[in-house]
């Protein structure tokens, strides 16, 4: 593994050189659809040689998770260094070598709440893209209100027996392991009886069923547990202490969704997309009303990006983002919905056809429909506003 220098300028040069050598040219363009994303896992089939090379090269240096400790498969970078790494990736338009719920969510939770053994067991396979994770939070009657969770885990000495149903488990049908919230004490009030457990999706009694969305096929599944046996060693954090882990994880998720906006859109500026659809020969968007609305969306996008930058800097100075991630999550969802609506409108009648794709390969109608979920998944817009009102503004409960 490369020894990275402390000196920022040398460090940047190292990263630049490393990327130059190891990032295949095919991986230097934004991902357009599911097929361009590498999720890894036991059952993963690489879409191209380049995708495989890129993952292997990055994993060998710990660069799939640059901020994690080297002992657990990361590169041990400081947050300032991670920022430089991200900048340099962005500069050459490099795709992420590996996307995964293990990286975004389980990893940070394990780093904070896991035992050393748990970290050694679960983190490196995540970093190398060997094990693909899914998360089991929501249930049919417990969406925003996780306190209403009903999936129960009965204590059978050295193991739990899990029964219940989860919904919105992304890629449950392709994941190897699941981390989820279960009720270990049915008598405890509200969230006090919840525990955070992990288990293999191949365990007998686990079944999944894909969910079709208004936008078409989706990664989401319903997941059913029928007498699933889970060793107690698979408990993360304390028994009945799952709420603490889950809360931390939800914040991570919001920061992730909000802050890096990964997966929400393809990364091209809105105005370029609209310009191609509705611009004249000189590149001016002909309809002044559409042009104005795009300008306002760009203003808000630049404002949101600057806010993320500011909060991240704050965090580097010791002032955690914390509940402010709810602002980012809320605004980011709203902004992507506006983006997709404007692209749809710029496409006019063409945008109303399922088979219409943009010149750059981007989908229009499905992306517009899919974006409607941005303000629901990972915490609804309403829940985000409640958090801002109650925790940031300290407004009273009724």
């Amino acid at each position: 593994m490369t020894e990275f220098a402390d000196d920022p300028q040398t460090f940047r040069a190292q990263i630049r050189a490393w990327l130059e050598r190891h990032c295949p040219p095919e991986m230097r363009s934004p991902a357009h659809g599911e097929d361009d994303i590498c999720w890894g896992g036991r059952r993963w089939t690489f879409r191209s040689d380049a995708q495989r090379q890129w993952l292997n090269a990055a994993a060998a240096e710990g660069l799939t998770v640059p901020g994690w400790p080297r002992a657990y498969g990361g590169a041990g970078m400081s947050s300032a260094q991670v920022q430089v790494f991200d900048d340099e990736m962005e500069r050459i338009g490099a795709r992420s070598p590996l996307e995964s719920f293990g990286i975004w969510m389980l990893g940070p939770a394990l780093l904070k709440f896991g035992t050393d053994e748990q970290k050694r067991r679960y983190l490196p396979p995540i970093a190398r893209g060997e094990i693909r994770w899914c998360q089991g939070y929501s249930e049919p009657d417990a969406g925003s209100d996780l306190v209403a969770l009903r999936t129960r885990a009965e204590d059978r000495g050295d193991r739990y027996v899990v029964n219940g149903q989860k919904i919105w488990t992304s890629y449950a049908d392709q994941a190897d392991w699941i981390f989820c919230l279960v009720r270990t004490d049915a008598t405890a009030p509200k969230h006090r009886g919840l525990s955070f457990v992990v288990f293999d999706m191949h365990t007998p009694g686990v079944t999944t069923r894909p969910i079709k969305l208004i936008s078409g096929k989706s990664p989401f599944c319903e997941t059913f547990f029928e007498n699933v046996e889970v060793p107690k060693a698979n408990l993360i954090g304390a028994e009945n202490g799952g709420w603490t882990v889950a809360k931390y994880l939800l914040t991570q998720e919001r920061e992730m969704i909000a802050g890096r906006a990964r997966g929400l859109h393809d990364g091209r500026p809105l105005w370029q997309v609209v310009q191609e659809l509705a611009g004249d020969a000189k590149g001016r968007i002909v309809d002044p009303i559409l042009r104005d609305r795009v300008a306002r969306a760009e203003i808000d996008a630049l404002a949101l990006t600057a806010t993320i930058e500011r909060y991240v800097e704050d965090a580097a100075h010791g002032h955690e983002i914390g509940d402010r991630s709810s602002i980012l999550k809320y605004c980011n969802a709203e902004l992507n919905q506006r983006r997709q609506t404007l692209i749809l409108e710029a496409s006019g009648a063409d945008g109303l056809r399922w088979d219409f794709v943009r010149s750059d390969g981007g989908e229009v109608a499905p992306a517009w429909l899919r974006a409607k979920a941005n303000s629901i998944e990972g915490g609804t817009a309403e829940v985000m506003l409640n958090i801002v009102a109650k925790r940031l503004l300290d407004l009273p409960a009724e």
Binding site: S144, V147, K212, I214, L369, K372
Partner: protein, 377 residues
């Protein structure tokens, strides 16, 4: 003037009953998932014709029921509520209205068949991404006693099942000129006509229709050659009012289902409909739907009365109803939460149809512009 007569109320009720049984979202799903070639149920359409729906804008002399635009609007509102598919908009509204300006012989030939649901006459107007009649490029060149049509139309509603097209063509000037436009009635089986169905997000009918040197007799022109402008506006406005009525139906149904859900669904120990933030959004939406509905009734009544303000109100209604339906369906998804995103629930069907109906014959931006122009600023 805006209240409904007893006859109108009865028409609306019987339509609601009929559509709930024979042309509901359940039927739409069946057509969609079965990838039905026709895109609607011909048996149901004949029954609708028998009830007088297909002849709603056809005078009694030609076998129509002549319910007028208020009647048509009531039917469309019901279509919106149930997401019923049928060639009503294309044939009973657009086709029939256009044909009322055709030669008497053409009227005698086509109007009774439209009213009986035996013939479908579709309007072919748009060519590009935007609804812009003045941009028409499809040419109709005179050659002796015939005109030769060359060009392509898109988003022709029911185009792939039409027996004939009313085609907007350019007989002089250039694309962009408001003048120089004509309408021709072209039978679908004329040599040179080819049709390709389009796969729309609302699972409804639309087609791309190509006219490759299609020769039509000059007496198939509807209205004056080169001067069909006023007739075109009149035909389009009839369609816009019908679409606006459908949009209000969509908005109201999506909204009512949402309100029902708000009362039923519990979270954090309360019915979510008791949360004031949702209450206020629902209340605002209710107001907007009420406003939209008023514009639709007003536009239809003015048109039935032959009032010249009907054109202004057609645009007002199309803009306002499009806006209300967009907001109502967006909020329906959001307020239903995750379940609202699933194909299993009908909410998504309303969302998609609202967007297509909102775009057809001009979206709310185009109609805001037209309102400004008609008012004179």
């Amino acid at each position: 003037m805006l209240a409904y007569t007893d006859d109108e109320v009865m028409l609306a009720r019987s339509a609601d009953d009929f559509l709930a049984r024979f042309a509901s979202t359940k039927h739409l799903r069946r057509l969609r998932d079965g990838r039905d070639d026709t895109g609607f149920d011909r048996g149901v359409w004949h029954e609708m014709a028998r009830l007088g729906y297909a002849g709603v804008l056809v005078d009694e002399a030609h076998g129509g029921s002549a319910f007028g635009h208020v009647g048509a609007g009531l039917l469309c509102a019901s279509f919106g509520r149930h997401l019923s598919t049928s060639p009503f908009l294309s044939s009973a509204v657009l086709g029939a209205t256009a044909l009322r300006s055709a030669l008497a012989s053409a009227q005698r030939c086509w109007l009774p068949r439209i009213a009986e649901g035996e013939a479908i006459v579709a309007l072919a107007v748009d060519e590009g991404r935007r609804h812009a009649p003045a941009s028409t490029a499809l040419s109709a060149e005179r050659s002796g006693e015939v005109h030769v049509l060359r060009g392509e139309k898109t988003l022709v509603v029911d185009g792939h099942v039409a027996d004939a097209f009313v085609v907007l063509a350019r007989t002089s000037g250039r694309p962009g000129d408001a003048a120089g436009l004509s309408l021709f009635l072209v039978e679908a089986d004329r040599p040179g006509v080819s049709v390709r169905r389009q796969d729309m997000i609302d699972s409804r009918n639309a087609a791309r229709v190509t006219f490759d040197g299609v020769r039509v007799a000059t007496d198939t022109a509807i209205g004056p050659v080169d001067g069909a402008g006023p007739i075109i506006d009149d035909v389009l406005d009839a369609g816009r009012i019908a679409l606006a009525a459908e949009l209000v139906g969509i908005a109201r149904e999506a909204f009512e289902r949402t309100v029902t859900y708000l009362k039923r669904r519990r979270q954090f120990g309360h019915a979510i409909g008791s949360f004031q933030a949702l209450q206020h959004r629902a209340a605002q939406l209710h107001g907007q739907i009420e406003l939209a509905q008023s514009t639709v009734v007003k536009a239809a009544r003015l048109r039935d009365l032959g009032d010249p303000r009907a054109a202004l109100f057609a645009s007002v209604a199309k803009a306002k109803a499009g806006d209300a339906a967009e907001r109502a369906t967006d909020e329906a998804v959001q307020m239903h939460g995750g379940i609202g995103m699933t194909d299993e629930l009908d909410v998504g069907l309303y969302l998609k149809r609202a967007r297509v109906a909102g775009t057809l014959l001009g979206d709310r931006h185009l109609h805001a512009d037209r309102v400004a122009t008609l008012l004179g600023f």
